[in-house]
Amino acid sequence: MFAPVSIRNLSVAYHRKPVLRDIDYDAPEGELIGIIGPNGAGKSTLIKAILGLLPLASGEVKIYGKPYKEQRHLVGYVPQRESVDWDFPTHALDVVLMGRYGKLGWFRRPKAEDREFALECLQKVGMESFAKRQISQLSGGQQQRVFLARALAQDAQIYLMDEPFVGVDAATEKAIIQILNELKQQKKTVLVVHHDLQTVTEYFDSILLINMCKIAAGPTREVFHADHLQKTYGGRLTVLPETSNMIVTR
């Protein structure tokens, strides 16, 4: 039985500076997993390394026991919202439709059933009435939902999401977490880069704490405690005593 995502001795370096060192991790199947760490800890880099978007300095990544290249149809991706220019001439449905491109392959155009599927995905994130809306006219939260719908349109087994909760309104945050739970019920595995420590215990079944190297990984209630957080955040987490109290009382 292979893990949905299995990472062995993974290291990534930009120029001469290592960003990730010797990460070893097996993602448990069918869970919501938080990837937690301070700014610059390499959380996004880890996601990109899994997706083969960055050259690995060493190590390997397997998706259900096989290289990513053979398994990419099983993986959906939600990049950071700021990573694209939202003043692009296109509408929401068209962006969601991009999620179908992978299954279509080169040259083939999306068909009516792809459009229907994309519209269903927009419906799941509560955005069907915005299908024809120009994407720059959407609020930050709506843009994030469109990105989520695009990943849903990939119809994957594993979802990798880079900071989906950043800069969204409260309603969107609730809607997203609801969708994540639905994905979990469908036995899909979801890895989410996250940095709001307050919601970690509420949202995630298990977590991976990283700060350039792996600090700890496992079920949230076992791993998410002050000792590990101190190691992950070092001196940077100045509110640690209060935060850890809060964690304990929960």
Binding site: L51, L53, R72, P89, F107, K174
Partner: protein, 426 residues
């Protein structure tokens, strides 16, 4: 028009068409300058092709130009990747170094004894009048190929422009596609060199695309508009130069494209400067109007008066008499002048308008204060704004207003409230 002019006309139209299409993608990738670099970098390639083969053959020129053009774009990639130099500097460096090399080679050729030499320098500024049928046939094949490829690869190019790393994660080789796109650009540049020349070629790539962006919010439409504008500028430029005033075609084409750009920038319905100005003025006017109504209502509510003196009002709020007279014209307020002051009061309709405005504003305030608690009551995707407060939120917001003691006190719709009795006259 003689036969040759017809060929030139077809050639320039084809050029405008294909540079318009490819220009859209370059423009959206924020690579407008790339066309300029490729054009300049093509010059040494053309010279080398001539020096090696000694023949003046468009196809060989294309190969030479493509090689140095792609080399130039690869250099830019390397420089930005492996050094601390940013893309703008890299573009400037490569552009001038390759162009310099091209000029050196060109001078070399012109000083050599090769009888064929004359005509290479026309690539500097372009000389479309020298185009003959075989040139145009060759251009047509290339342009047709480019258009076909852009059509077939439309969805891949869209991914490349919008979200390349996502495209990569889906399994489309974005590095390969980028290289292919650069090759397309090189081809269109080489086609254009004969018409517009090294110096002006970039304008043909960027200008129609930039103009088309003003008219639409849909990539496919943008590509069409840009293609038509490119072709039109080719035709217009050629047509004007055929009048026989010794005006050269390339610059006229660029000027025609620029005219279309300026017109688009001014009058396009959504993004154009004029319509944006009109919208801005309208918003400002509405905002000022609303702020005045709000101020008057709030003042009256606070001071328990039905008439307020302008001087008193102005001590607390920025009030413009211009906006007041506008409100009066709308029939929302009446103003009575006495010897030193103006007294302002709401009319019947004014009261209702004021109440509505104030109510909306305060409900919006409540929403902003309690967004986190109320968000779950909001159906997916719905937005709370000045123009649309969802109906089922209203009771909640009203409760909150009472809690914060900021519900509008005087409700003109409520017949039980007799405002006059509660008023202490001034």
């Amino acid at each position: 028009m003689d036969a040759n002019t017809w060929w030139v006309l077809i050639g320039t139209a084809l050029l405008g068409l294909s540079s318009g299409v490819l220009g859209c993608f370059a423009f959206l990738r924020k690579q407008g300058l790339m066309g300029d670099v490729l054009a300049h970098a093509a010059l040494p390639g053309i010279c080398l092709a001539f020096m090696i083969t000694g023949a003046k053959n468009s196809f060989l020129f294309l190969i030479g130009a493509a090689i140095t053009g792609i080399l130039g774009s690869l250099c830019i990639n390397w420089i930005t990747r492996y050094s601390r130099i940013k893309e703008d500097t890299a573009l400037g460096l490569i552009l001038s170094v390759f162009f310099g090399l091209g000029i050196v080679l060109l001078t070399q050729i012109q000083h050599s004894n090769n009888g064929n030499q004359s005509g290479l320098d026309k690539f500097l500024f372009g000389q479309s009048a020298s185009m003959v049928a075989s040139d145009v046939q060759w251009m047509a094949i290339m342009a047709g190929l480019l258009l076909l490829m852009s059509f077939l690869l439309f969805k891949e190019l869209k991914l490349l422009c919008f979200d390349a790393s996502y495209g990569q994660s889906l399994g489309f080789s974005m590095r390969g596609l980028n290289l292919l796109f650069m090759t397309f650009l090189v081809i269109v540049v080489v086609i254009g060199l004969q018409v517009a020349g090294v110096v002006l070629m970039a304008a043909l790539i960027v200008t129609p695309a930039a103009a088309a962006r003003y008219w639409t919010e849909q990539l496919s439409t943008m590509v069409w508009i840009s293609a038509v504008m490119g072709a039109c500028s080719g035709v217009i430029g050629t047509w004007i130069s055929s009048f026989g005033y010794n005006l050269s075609t390339g610059p006229l084409i660029v000027l025609a494209a620029t005219m279309m750009f300026i017109i688009s920038m001014m009058v396009a319905p959504q993004r154009g400067l004029l319509s944006r100005l009109v919208r801005l003025m309208k918003t400002r006017r509405e905002l000022a109007r609303e702020q005045h109504i709000n101020s008057i209502y709030t003042y009256m509510e606070k001071e328990q008066v039905l008439k307020v003196s302008l001087l008193d009002l102005q001590t607390q709020y920025p009030i413009s008499t211009h906006v007041l007279s506008q409100l009066k014209e709308e029939g929302l307020i009446h103003m009575e002048e006495d010897h030193q002051d103006i007294w302002i009061g709401f009319t019947e309709t004014g009261w209702k308008a004021a109440y509505d405005t104030v109510l909306t504003n305060r409900m919006l305030e409540m929403w902003l204060m309690h967004e986190a608690d109320l968000a779950s009551k909001l159906p997916n995707g719905e937005i709370v704004s000045k123009d649309s407060i969802p109906e089922h939120l209203v009771p909640e917001l009203q409760k909150l207003m009472i809690q914060h003691q900021c519900e509008p006190k005087w409700n003109p719709y409520d017949s039980n409230q007799r405002m006059k009795e509660r008023v202490v006259s001034p």
